[in-house]
């Protein structure tokens, strides 16, 4: 339940915020929330797999954040702003 709430909060934030940094932050929130769900499930049935899952999620989050932030830097170089809506060249 908690995980759901957190996840949805992250989603709402993602949909609302235009600044790319905030977008990434919200993605992190969502990832964290899903990890929480896994661990809770693992704890419920007393198995270790939940924690393993969380470990993998964490690893993935780390890799994703580093790449994502590098992309944000490139984006900032290309456009003067950090507006997510500025990257709409694939429209139409």
């Amino acid at each position: 339940m908690l995980a759901t709430v957190l996840f949805l909060l992250g989603l709402a934030g993602l949909l609302t915020r235009r600044n790319l940094i905030f977008t990434l932050m919200c993605v992190e929130i969502m990832l964290n929330a899903s990890g929480l769900a896994f661990v809770a499930a693992g704890a419920r049935w007393g198995q270790v797999d939940g924690q393993i899952m969380f470990l993998f999620i964490l690893t993935m989050a780390a890799a994703e954040v580093s790449v994502g932030l590098a992309l944000v830097l490139q984006f900032h170089l290309k456009h003067p702003t950090l507006d997510a809506d500025a990257a709409s060249e694939m429209k139409g």
């Binding site: 908690l2 992250g10 940094i21 419920r44 924690q51 964490l58 790449v67 944000v72 900032h76 950090l82």
Partner: protein, 198 residues
């Protein structure tokens, strides 16, 4: 025990809420760290101390620090706050908020149908067990995640590299402050520029 769980959960939710509604990036990041701390406490209370520790070290320690570094490097400043204020009208929360509520209701109803049972399990799963599991059945996952990390490393390095612009002047990703440094010391294409380098 249960009380602490609920309190820390409440803190987590509140902190997340504050995160997504802040105008200043650094403020939001700080709130996020608070939220992560609260979640770590939840983990510990659920009987997963290893995970709690991991969360603190990696998530709150490394990833958030990376965020802070980048934010500060981009040097967003006051102007960004103004922009954020413009972008974050209450009106723009309506759609996503509605969506989130709908999804909440759906998931809640789905969960309630099944019944979740007791939240806080009595047994604690120690780190040792996790370690054995990792080297046992999940060893392939370990290898894959190491692969993933390598890829992430290479990607981040490549993408974060300095880009050479048209006039031969290497544009740094820094802002105006470091630009003078770059111009003096870097290689220039045209002959007219060599005087600067001299």
């Amino acid at each position: 025990m249960l009380a602490i769980f609920y309190i820390s959960s409440a803190v987590a939710v509140l902190a997340t809420l504050m995160t997504i509604t802040r105008r200043n990036a650094i403020h939001a990041l700080l709130y996020l760290i608070v939220s992560l701390l609260a979640i770590a406490i939840d983990f510990y209370l659920m009987g997963a101390p290893f995970v709690a520790a991991l969360e603190l070290i990696i998530y709150a320690g490394a990833i958030m620090v990376l965020f802070v570094f980048v934010v500060m490097m981009l040097n967003i400043g006051e102007q960004a706050s103004e922009t954020e204020r413009e972008w974050l009208r209450p009106r723009s929360w309506v759609g996503p908020g509605l969506l989130a509520v709908v999804l909440l209701v759906e998931v809640a109803s789905l969960l309630s149908l099944r019944g979740t049972g007791e939240r806080t399990g009595a047994d604690v799963i120690a780190s040792k067990q996790v370690g054995i599991a990792l080297f046992g059945p999940y060893v392939i996952g370990v290898e894959l995640s190491s692969l993933l990390l390598t890829a992430g490393l290479v990607g981040a390095y490549h993408l974060g590299r300095k880009v050479a612009s048209k006039e031969g002047e290497i544009r740094d990703i820094d802002t105006a402050g470091s630009r003078a440094v770059a111009r003096d010391s870097t290689v220039s294409a045209g002959p007219g520029r060599t005087s600067h380098a001299a």
